[in-house]
Structures are given as structure tokens and as C-alpha cells.
């Protein structure tokens, strides 16, 4: 469904991605783990078209998208929940959600879609007239995911949804990600530092080191991998 081959991305002269190869198949949850600065967010931004790949191809449903503008890519069905949530803090919860529907045919199915988001995250429905900035971190993350779902994506790119969120809420958010995948049939590409959670959730996973994919396999395989345990699991996040 989404095929990334040999992608290289630069920030000025600094090379962030050094030939990334990666596949995401229809209906899967694919996780990408890696340490700070490995290029995880860069890869997502490159898929979304915010950063442009200098080399390589990104093919989505048989169409090359590496040179498309970000809003065109969203129209095609790839929506990103950016790192740090990026809620419009002075707009209300419902306005935030409405903005998510921007790409979606002028919101024809708006009422229905918004109800689905509220069913998924009931707390948002209680707070729909509150400003985005007044929500807690976890609620903001739910809002960011809900907002992205409003565009009816085929693939949802999630950048560190557990960042700065209470552990209890992290579990809830990972559960909703699973629900979104199974019930709404949305393909998930998840980037995480919380490697254990990400691998447990994933059908398949990749490890990114210094802008290159070094290990790939099923989530369970990678959980058992000795190198990964040493580098990302035992020394790293333990929840």
C-alpha cells in the first residue's frame, strides 16, 4: 500500500535519512522504533511531503507521491498526527475536529464522522466547546488523533503518541490505536520511542538507526531480539 524505497532526506547539508526502505501493507500496524535523532520524524514528514526527499521513491497505492504537496497527499488518504500533537490551542475542540475534515469533501459526512470520533474518545465530547489548549496532554493527543481521523485517512501516520502523557492514558491511547486499525480498517504507521508498547502493538516493525533501517521483522520477533532488548527495551522505557 505504502512503499518507501531508498529515500534520502537532507536538512541543508545534514543528511537525516540515508536510504530508507520500508513497506506498509493494507490493514497492518507497522511500528518504527529508534533513538533520538535516528530520523523517525523526518521519515514521517517526508511521507507527508512537508520535507522533500532528495532521492528515492515513495509509492502510495501505485502512485508516486514524493513530489506532491502536503495537502494533496492528505487528499489521497495519508494523514499524520504530528509529534507534540500541535493542537490549535485557541480554537475549541470541535473547531479543531472541523479543521480535520477540511480535506474531506467539504464535510459531507461531518455529523457522522464527528460522532464516531466522540464514540472513540468520549472525553472529547464532554469538552467540545473548550479551547484545545486547556486540555490535558492525553486529551490533546486524543484530539489530535480524532482530528486526523476526520479526513478519513487510509493510512494514519502517528508520531510519538505517548510523548509526555501519563502512563495510564498511554495504555488507553494504544488501545484506541488498535481499535482504529481493527474496526475502522485504517492502516497504521506508528513511530515511537516507547519501544515495548510499539512492538507489542505492531504486526511488523522496523528499527531505524542513523537514517537507515537496520532490523526488521514481526513485532514479536523484535521483542525477543537480543540486540533490541539491550538497546531499546531493558535500558530504555520500562512500562
Amino acid at each position: 500500500m505504502l512503499k518507501i524505497s531508498n529515500v534520502e532526506t537532507f536538512y541543508g547539508k545534514i543528511q537525516a535519512l540515508r536510504g530508507v526502505d520500508l513497506d506498509v501493507n493494507d490493514g497492518e500496524i507497522v511500528s518504527l522504533i529508534g533513538s533520538n535523532g535516528a530520523g523517525k520524524s523526518t521519515l514521517l514528514m517526508t511521507i507527508s511531503g512537508v520535507n522533500k526527499a532528495k532521492k528515492g521513491n515513495i509509492v502510495f497505492n501505485g502512485e508516486n507521491i514524493e513530489n506532491k504537496q502536503p495537502h494533496k497527499i492528505v487528499d489521497m488518504g495519508i494523514c499524520q498526527v504530528p509529534e507534540g500533537r500541535r493542537i490549535f490551542s485557541r480554537l475549541t475542540v470541535e473547531e479543531n475536529l472541523r479543521l480535520g475534515a477540511h480535506a474531506n469533501e467539504k464535510g459531507k459526512y461531518f455529523e457522522n464522522d464527528i460522532k464516531e470520533v466522540y464514540d472513540l474518545f468520549p472525553v472529547l465530547s464532554d469538552r467540545k466547546t473548550q479551547r484545545g489548549g486547556t486540555l490535558s496532554g492525553g486529551e490533546q493527543q486524543m484530539l489530535a488523533i480524532g482530528r486526523a481521523l476526520m479526513s478519513k485517512p487510509k493510512v494514519l501516520l502517528l508520531d510519538e503518541p505517548s510523548l509526555g502523557i501519563a502512563p495510564k492514558l498511554v495504555n488507553q491511547i494504544f488501545l484506541s490505536i488498535k481499535n482504529i486499525n481493527k474496526e475502522k480498517n485504517v492502516t497504521i504507521f506508528l513511530v515511537e520511542q516507547n519501544a515495548k508498547k510499539a512492538l507489542e502493538l505492531a504486526d511488523r516493525a522496523y528499527v531505524l538507526v542513523n537514517g537507515k533501517v537496520t532490523i526488521k521483522g514481526s513485532g514479536q520477533e523484535l521483542l525477543k531480539n537480543k540486540d533490541i532488548q539491550a538497546a531499546y527495551l531493558e535500558g530504555g522505557a520500562k512500562n
Binding site: H71, V74, D75, T92, E95
Partner: protein
């Protein structure tokens, strides 16, 4: 208050005095006067000491005010009056204000002078509301807004004098021209944000003015355009003795001829134009494009990730903001019947930006209050002639001291969905 606080603030005010002395010394103290042959310097130290003394006293009072927990009565009265005007009460205020504006021309104390000032304030309110779309909603700081005002005024003047079309045809055309220029400015500045954007827009404002001065064949250069047709009351001109085959306003309605008719008509015209601007802004905020503007102001990357096209969104903001500037410009041209590049200097842009910022970014009612305050105060002190701008500056300082975020800083969320109460 502690004794050492007083000493501290006294020291601080003396220091302020020193700065004031350094500034006023050469600027005010040394005055050149021509006597016989050549220029001579006449010192006027008395005035300098008066000004420096005022600065020290003012600074001392402000210090006292901020040092104390309970404010001095004068200041606290002043501030509480302003904080009483919250956005919640703004709605009642808006209705009262509109009603007042409608009956204003017929109040007993209203004379020609009041009407002129009111028309001027309304023009600035309209410009403020137009700029609010660009600055307040879309968050693009535009320091060259006067350029669109000028484009609107010149488009109207040129079309009206060349083709002799009526006001009601020229007005939308002028708006279209201004919107076109808005897009023209929009394209090169799409990639810019914040300070850089401000600098480029500032340059754009100057470019338009300089073109108007130098393109003599078309704009008549610094001499300006004269004889711009006055608007008619839907075909009825405001003339004492109409041309043959025409019926003038006072004859049609069987009134005594009075020059006030035209003034009152102009007043209602600008009132309606301004209210249309306001209504439009309030409505468009609830449409996808208006929401996209506000989202773009908040976070451009998040917008991109959600499929908002930032290019189109910014361009529409520029174009629509410019269009209303153009309408205001046409009105200005038809009211004055004469325009020249002198009316479109940077200070005009600065005043409009000041109105938007001091009103509280994005607040519609704030723009009204700031216009009345800034334009009204400058007008009240017209007798002071060249010192009038001091009153303007003083008004700005007062707002910044007491209401650093603008008169109406707390804007409510733009919409509450499905009629929800907050």
C-alpha cells in the same frame, strides 16, 4: 509601601529624566531660527526642563502605581473602567453602538464637524476590520495595508473620471482591483512569516505610493486627481440646481436644500460598508476558509498535516482583506472628491495597524473602541496643530500601559457549535 521602594522608584525616575534630557536637549532645546542672513541657534532650555520634569513625574507615578498592591485611586478608576468592557458585555455594547450610530446624525448637538469626525472614525473602523481579517484572523502582520486603500481610491477615481460610471458600479470594481493587488502581494510573501513578512509588506506599501507619485501619465503624479464624481442617492444627485432632465435629492423628497444631506448620506454609506465588513468577517469565521485562517495563525505545520492548503488560504486572506481596504478607498475618494499620494503614506498603515493591535488582535469590538479612542483623541486636540500627534502617541502609551494586550484582549472562542452554551 516601603521607604526603599520610594527611593528606588525615585532613582528610576531620575534616570528616566536623564534619558529625556538627552533626547529633548538637542531636539527641543536647540532651535534654529533665521535672522537676517543665515540660521542662528536659539536655545529654549525652559521648555526642555518642563518636558524633562513631566517625564520624571510621569515615570514616578507609574512606578508608584506598580509598586503598590492597591493602586492609586486615579489609575485604578481608569483601569477598572476599561476592564469592565469584557467581550461578554461587548454584544450589548455592539447593539447599543449600532443603534447610536444610526440615530447619531439626527441628535440635536450633531453638527457638520461632528459628522465629519464620525465619518472619519467609521472609515478607520472599516479599515481596521478589513485589516483584522489579515492580521487578527490569519495572523499575517501587514504593515502596508494602506496600499490597498490607495489602490481602491485610485481605481475608483480613475474609472469614475474616465468612464463616468456611477459609484455603485465603480465600488465593486475598485474592490476587485484591490483584491487583485492583494494576491499580487500575497504571492511573493507566501514563504515569509512574522518580522520578514512585515518588512516586505511595508515595502509594498511604499512601492505603491511611489508608483502613484511617478506614473504621471496615469495618476497625475503628486498633483493628484481632482473632480472625482460624488455619489448619488441611487441616481438622485445632491445638487442645489440639477442639470436638465435630472431630479435632485431635495426636490424628489420635497426638502429644503442643505449640504448636510450629502454628508448624512455619506455617513450612512460608510456605516453600511463598515457593517458589511463586520458581518462578513463574523460569518466567514464560521466557514471552512475562516477556520483555516485561524488554524494557520496557530500552527502552520499542523495545518499542512491536516490537508489545509496554506498557499490558497493565505492568498484568500490577503485578497479579501485587500478588497475591504479597496472599498474603504473608494469611499475615501468619493468623499474627498480629490486624492493625491499624500493621503497614503506609511503613517496611515501604522494607524490602522495600531487600531487593530490596540483594540486586541482579532476583536471586532476592540477595533471600534480603538478607532474612537485614537482618532477621536487626535481630533479633539486639533487646535494644538503640530503637537496633535503627541496626543496620538499619548493615547497609544496609555493603552499599552493599562491594557498591554489591547483593549479587548480576551476573545471568546469563535464559535460554539450546535448552539451550545459555554
Amino acid at each position: 509601601m516601603e521607604k526603599k521602594d520610594i527611593i528606588q522608584s525615585f532613582k528610576d525616575s531620575l534616570f528616566t529624566g536623564l534619558i529625556a534630557l538627552a533626547l529633548f536637549g538637542p531636539i527641543v532645546g536647540l532651535r534654529t531660527a533665521s535672522k537676517g542672513e543665515g540660521l542662528f541657534i536659539t536655545p529654549q532650555w525652559g521648555v526642555v526642563f518642563l518636558l524633562v520634569g513631566l517625564c520624571i513625574l510621569g515615570r514616578f507615578l507609574i512606578n508608584l502605581n506598580s509598586a503598590r498592591k492597591t493602586e492609586i485611586t486615579f489609575f485604578s478608576k481608569f483601569t477598572s473602567k476599561f476592564s469592565a468592557i469584557t467581550e461578554d458585555k461587548a454584544k450589548h455594547f455592539a447593539i447599543t453602538a449600532i443603534l447610536f450610530a444610526v440615530v447619531f446624525p439626527f441628535l440635536p448637538f450633531t453638527d457638520r464637524y461632528f459628522m465629519d469626525v464620525a465619518i472619519m472614525i467609521l472609515t478607520y473602523i472599516m479599515l481596521g476590520w478589513g485589516l483584522n481579517i489579515v492580521v487578527g484572523l490569519a495572523g499575517l502582520l501587514d504593515l502596508g495595508y494602506v496600499a490597498f486603500y490607495a489602490v481602491g481610491a485610485y481605481s475608483y477615481a480613475l474609472i469614475a473620471t474616465t468612464f463616468g460610471w456611477s459609484f455603485w458600479i465603480c465600488l465593486p470594481l475598485a474592490g476587485v482591483f484591490a483584491a487583485f493587488f492583494g494576491i499580487l502581494l500575497g504571492f511573493p510573501v507566501l514563504r515569509l512569516r512574522g518580522d520578514y513578512l512585515a518588512i516586505v509588506t511595508l515595502g509594498f506599501g511604499e512601492i505603491i505610493r511611489i508608483i502613484l507619485i511617478n506614473w504621471y501619465e496615469v495618476t497625475n503624479g503628486p498633483d493628484g486627481i481632482t473632480g472625482i464624481p460624488r455619489p448619488s442617492f441611487f441616481g438622485l444627485p445632491f445638487k442645489r440646481s440639477p442639470d436638465e432632465g435630472e431630479t435632485s435629492f431635495h426636490l424628489f423628497f420635497n426638502l429644503e436644500y442643505s449640504t448636510m444631506h450629502r454628508i448624512i448620506f455619506l455617513y450612512y454609506l460608510i456605516l453600511v460598508l463598515a457593517l458589511i465588513t463586520n458581518y462578513f468577517t463574523l460569518k466567514i469565521r464560521k466557514l471552512p476558509v475562516g477556520r483555516a485562517w485561524e488554524a494557520l495563525r496557530e500552527d502552520e505545520i499542523a495545518c499542512k498535516s491536516l490537508g489545509v492548503n496554506p498557499t490558497n488560504t493565505k492568498l484568500t486572506a490577503f485578497a479579501i482583506g485587500a478588497m475591504f481596504g479597496g472599498f474603504a478607498g473608494s469611499f475615501f475618494a468619493t468623499r474627498q472628491a480629490f486624492i493625491s499620494p499624500e493621503s497614503f503614506t506609511f503613517i496611515e498603515s501604522a494607524i490602522i495597524v495600531a487600531i487593530v493591535v490596540l483594540g486586541g488582535m482579532g476583536s471586532q469590538t476592540g477595533v471600534v473602541l480603538a478607532s474612537i479612542f485614537l482618532i477621536g483623541i487626535t481630533e479633539m486636540f486639533r487646535d494644538l496643530e503640530q503637537y496633535r500627534m503627541i496626543a496620538f502617541g499619548g493615547a497609544m502609551v496609555l493603552i499599552m500601559v493599562f491594557k498591554p494586550k489591547g483593549i479587548l484582549a480576551n476573545r471568546k472562542p469563535t464559535i460554539l457549535m450546535h448552539g451550545d452554551k459555554k
